[in-house]
Amino acid sequence: MKPKVAFFDFTCCEGCQLDTLNIEGQDLVDLVSAVDIVEFREIHTGKADHYDIAFVEGSISRESGIERVKDIRARSDMLIALGACAHIGGINCLKNHLEMDEALDIVYGEDAKYYDTIPARPVSAVVPVDFVVPGCPINTAELVRIIKEILLGKTPELPNHPVCVECKMAGNVCVFEQGKTCLGPVIRAGCNAICISAGRQCWGCRGLVDDPNIDSQMDVLKKYGLTVEEVVEKFKIYNTYSEVAK
């Protein structure tokens, strides 16, 4: 019996699911022959009562989402948070700095009365999550690895070292040495430092490592010219829901 796999989305851009569908070539062929995708709104209308693995994209930001994700959890053997919104709340949590009425007003104006909203939160704030696939968007190679490890009966693990490690492996010139700033030293690796390799910097989409030295990172960012406010802003983008931005 192939494991029954389903994909669901909550508050998100669905980019992680789109990227899942972008898995190409032999990996795609092997993936669909290894698992049975019983529910995935972006590709078919199929439904199922029970899932071996449910992937959930998006943060929870409406009352109705709480009930729905609890229902999915109840019908799943394993629930995996897919992407930054599901994993750490992601950019949706930026609205948590506002009053909810104010947020509704900014976004929907006169039509705000038709909508409800609650402070955004990661899936793990509502139901237990077995594993996460971090990132905005996810690294599909990592998703494939995690699926393979589950199929092999291994417990998937995420790197517990920061982006700097993979950035050095990639041979990049440090963002700080280029006179810019970066969250890489406290953010969990696994992305192969893709943003820095592309000439950008780390925004922290994969969340913090297990035991980040935030005080020191703050000092470093200040030393490289950011104000306290700018430092906090930098952390807020993806990590508002974490302790760091509070």
Binding site: Q26, D27, D30, L31, S33, A34, V144, R145, I147, K148, L151, L152, N160, H161, P162, C164, V165, K168, M169, A170, G171, V173, C174, F176, E177, Q178, G184, P185, V186, V209, D210, D211, P212, N213, D215, S216, Q217, D219, V220, K223, Y224
Partner: protein, 632 residues
């Protein structure tokens, strides 16, 4: 024809033709500019090559030990199988600074000697190294302090940019061959030789960071400051980001993981860089992290750079390139800074000691007066002396320790203590008459005064012997020190299992302590076996060397500890027999004789390789002696 060790001058166009010639045959990895810094990368055009760089962001070692590489290919069809995966393209590392050449030589030592690493060696054998002397040191580098600013070996060619032309030193036959093929070397003029020398000396003068002490002192200095508060303080800001180890040319630790294809039919075993500064480096599956805090990881790295690598491989663990100091955002990574901080602490401590806060031990070399209470003849040439301090104090010794005994005017000698501390306030020394001091001792009678210093040495490891079966092997006067232990065991008989004593002497008239031995057998349940090398008319016991007693013994090796004391020749043979009985090195205890003149670890006579027998000995297990080749 260019010769190894020869220096020739090649013109600037010739360097280009060397570069281009090599490009036809292999990947050329050289230094190029990127985002205002320098990096090693594939270079296809000579114009792109930087020959006046200070330091690269990443070391060239990544081309010998890549960040990620396959070590095994695996197949799961049928019976799972694995095969080594080794491949390498020919390459030349072009423009490697001497400090990096030293780092590569360390990697060669690590990966090419014991347990030769196939991936590394294959890549290394396909790699040419064209070195380049560094004329523009990086502001954070300290290569001269680490002895790595020049290279004598480790390159195929080594260049110095003279402005007009390059001084080119040949380091290998391969280097000579490519030079002959692609460039026209000519003998340098006196001016050019002087110019190279001046350029190198002036470059060395421009290093801004320096070690305040000689690097040879680092291992000992660090060792003395293992528990220092510095590690905790300094590592407070550590991000555990691993940048310092990832940019280090002498770091080579790695992790290994299996990656399986989605079809579950094939897979790869992959190794990737790992480093001791990362949080989970020393964690095991059960969750225990053996270097769980930042301070212990920080200290480990600095010790690795200044002590462990040097001691293990005989080469410096830090080449002073300064890359880690540049990469570290909180600015705590520079080994030079740590070394200097520790050196400064040591200096303050030394000063304090020299200023005189530490009180001199006035009596270090002054013997304490002891009275000879009793003298007993043991054999023709051996006597037993019972002694007590005149001030009423006790010796306070442990079995297996020794004293320095003086007869003033004659001298002083180390003598093992023959009695157990459990036998009252006096102590006994059994002495063979073999030299000036012992001859003088033998002339003494009860009532005489001698001088005693001590007790010294470590003594027998009682804690390792307790609750075990004991096999004592005493050859000749080896019984003298062993007697102190035998008496101790008898006085704590319930704490030990079976006790077997093997006693061997040259001839029946050299047997000693006969009456006492009889009481050991009768009263303490000790199994006693005896042999003499040569019998006489009256002798009816075993004849043969002491080793002949061992094969017939019935012992349980798992619960047995053996203690062997005798002349040096005996150890070699007895050890062999004991091993045949199934005893491990840890279960064989020996007391070694050496010339222990001072007893306090100063005079140097008793050294066994680097170990002082009077301090760390005279009792050792065979396991302790594994690295002491002078021992037995």
């Amino acid at each position: 024809m260019a010769q190894i060790k020869q220096s020739l001058v090649i013109s600037n166009p010739d360097l280009r033709s060397l570069f281009e010639g090599l490009s036809q045959r292999m990947d050329v990895i050289g230094v190029v500019e990127r985002k205002g810094k320098y990096v090693f990368d594939r270079v296809s055009r000579f114009e792109d090559l930087c020959l006046d760089y200070d330091v690269t962001v990443h070391p060239p070692t990544r081309y010998l030990l890549p960040a990620r590489e396959k070590v095994l290919s695996m197949s799961f069809e049928g019976t799972p199988s694995a095969s080594a995966e080794i491949s390498a393209q020919p390459q030349v590392l072009f423009g490697v600074h001497p400090y990096d050449i030293h780092a590569i030589e360390l990697l060669d030592e690590v990966f090419m000697t014991k347990h030769a690493d196939p991936n590394y060696i294959t890549r290394r054998q396909n790699t040419l190294i064209v070195g380049l002397n560094c004329l523009h040191p990086s502001p954070k580098a300290f290569a001269p302090s680490m002895g790595t600013s020049r290279a004598e070996t480790g390159f195929d060619l080594l260049l110095t940019d003279l402005g007009e032309g390059f001084m080119t030193t040949v380091g290998s036959q391969r280097g000579a061959d490519i030079l002959d093929e692609f460039a026209k070397g000519r003998t340098p003029s006196d001016n050019e030789i002087a110019s190279e020398k001046a350029l190198l000396e002036s470059a060395e003068g421009r290093y801004e960071v320096k070690l305040d002490i000689a690097r040879e002192r680092l291992p000992k200095l660090l060792d003395a400051h293992y528990e220092d508060a510095y590690w905790e303080e300094k590592s407070e800001a550590c991000l555990s980001c691993g940048s310092c180890v990832m940019v280090c040319p002498t770091c080579f630790c790695f992790d290994v993981k299996d990656e399986v294809a989605l079809n579950m039919k094939t897979g790869e075993r992959i190794r990737t860089w790992d480093g001791c500064m990362l949080t989970d480096f020393a964690i095991v599956a059960g969750g225990e992290n053996f270097r769980h805090d930042k301070a212990s990881r920080y200290r480990h790295r600095i010790f690795r750079k200044g002590k462990y690598v040097l001691e293990r491989y005989g080469m410096v663990g830090c080449v002073g390139c300064g890359r880690c100091a540049t990469a570290c955002l909180p600015d705590i990574a520079s080994p030079a800074e740590a070394f200097n901080a520790i050196a400064e602490k040591a200096q303050i401590e030394t000063a304090r000691r020299l200023i005189g806060k530490a009180a001199p031990d006035e009596d270090l070399y002054t013997p304490k007066q002891a009275k000879v209470l009793r003298v007993e003849d043991l054999a023709a040439n051996e006597k037993l002396f019972e002694l007590a301090f005149e001030d009423g104090s006790t010796l306070g010794h442990a079995p297996g320790q020794f004293v320095e005994i003086s007869v003033l005017g004659i001298g002083e000698a180390p003598i093992s203590i023959s009695s157990s501390p459990t036998r009252g306030d006096t102590f006994e020394l059994a002495v063979r008459n073999v030299g000036n001091l012992t001859r003088a001792l033998h002339k003494l009678e009860a009532g005489a005064t001698v001088g005693i210093r001590g007790p010294f040495g470590n003594g027998f490891p009682i804690d390792k012997l307790e609750w075990k079966d004991l096999l004592f092997v005493a050859a000749g006067i080896g019984l003298f020190p062993l007697r102190s232990l035998i008496q101790y065991v008898i006085d704590h008989r319930d704490s030990f299992g079976r006790v077997i004593i093997l006693y061997g002497t040259r001839s029946p008239d050299q047997r000693m302590f006969e009456a006492e031995i009889e009481s050991w057998k009768a009263d303490a349940g000790i199994e006693f076996y005896e042999t003499v090398d040569q019998g006489d008319d009256s002798w009816t016991g075993n004849v043969g060397v002491i080793t002949t007693l061992i094969p017939d013994l019935e012992i349980e090796p798992a619960k047995t500890m053996s203690v062997v004391v005798g002349p040096p020749i005996v150890y070699r043979f007895v050890i062999g027999e004991l091993k045949k009985k199934g005893l491990a090195d840890e279960q064989i205890v020996m007391s070694l004789e050496r010339r222990m003149k001072c007893g306090v670890g100063k005079c140097g006579h008793c050294q066994i390789n680097g170990v002082y027998a009077c301090q760390e000995g005279p009792v050792f297990t065979l396991a302790d002696l594994r690295n002491l080749r002078e021992a037995v």
